[in-house]
Symmetry: D2
Subunit: 115 residues, 4 copies
């Protein structure tokens, strides 16, 4: 069972039942996703980088991170659905592209910096 | 088979094979996700809101949107993995919370505005 | 009087007085900026695109937008300061580049789409 | 002379001369700002946190950071202008609020964590 398909179907039903499809144009959904990415940032921004993984294993941070990661995921499947993109297929395709673009022998230990 | 679990495992292997795990602390991964959300924004920002869904069905935009949505998804599963969050479970839990928090009879057609 | 210089100096003093400079590494400040961009998004995401400017002229939205735009501005001057960038000079330089890159006669009425 | 006012006036003229005002509704401008925040993230994401300030003092990173910080600043003044917000005034007001909300004696050395 594809859980991305399942989440997509559930978010579509959730939106239809509340008559919220009218608000779900792509730009608005993307801003909603940005809002959730912002909430995720606020949970981590002032924590020392080296302590986040440890604190993320304990409450209350564990639950809060789960909620915000979930919100990003839910708006992402909803946005992909509205745009007609099969997110699971797109992700698998991008992974294949990434494997070819960054051969293990040439990039090992080197961060692919943008400039 | 859970495709979020599958993508998570593949991204972990992808990172390990390239010795990139050293770069994947939560803040850096979140910034990488922000970078991909930014690329997604750049694809849509100047398109008329009412034309995006139509154009998203045609090339080259269809493939470009798929790639950027995929990049957001891949960094999201990677970030959740590093933080120890079961993303599929968290998303299902958040959907349940959303259904209780926004009963269909009381919120129908009303956008849940923040203030 | 440069108000960007003034805001930069005030944010530096604000941070030093609270012993918060220790938290202000570039990645953390950028995540804080992302958090504020997210809050700005949440104010606008479900409003009809054509109504935002009108509503922005009235309370309570006018004040809320001012607060979130201000937060983005304050973290932006702080981040530039920590990175050693003269923000006013950089903005003027970028405007000059933009004028040369997009000559009025060739781009008039055409959005510069990314692909 | 207020440089935020000056940048605002120049961005308005820049937009009018190119007949781009038609594209500058608030949601689209905010997505453009998100795009630039994303480019800024991509410059820093894989750099070790402790090395960014040092590298930011040298080329090519110094110029690249200046450009992306400038882009964020330019879209920020443009968005504030379209929304009718006096950005310099809003930032000064927010700083005053911050000083009252976080008295130096009570918050010294403590990051204001969100939960």
């Amino acid at each position: 069972m594809s859980d991305l398909r399942d989440l997509t179907d559930q978010m579509r039903a959730f939106s239809e039942e509340r008559d919220w499809v009218q608000f779900h144009d792509p730009k608005s959904l993307l801003l909603a996703l940005v809002g959730e990415v912002g909430e995720l940032s606020e949970l981590m921004q002032w924590l020392p980088a080296g302590e986040i993984v440890g604190r993320a294993a304990e409450e209350p941070l564990a639950s809060r991170l789960g909620e915000e990661l979930a919100d990003v995921q839910l708006y992402l499947v909803r946005l992909a659905d509205v745009l007609g993109v099969d997110l699971a297929e797109a992700a698998r395709l991008k992974l294949s592209t990434g494997r070819r673009r960054f051969p293990t022998e040439t990039v090992r230990g080197e961060a692919p910096l943008k400039s």
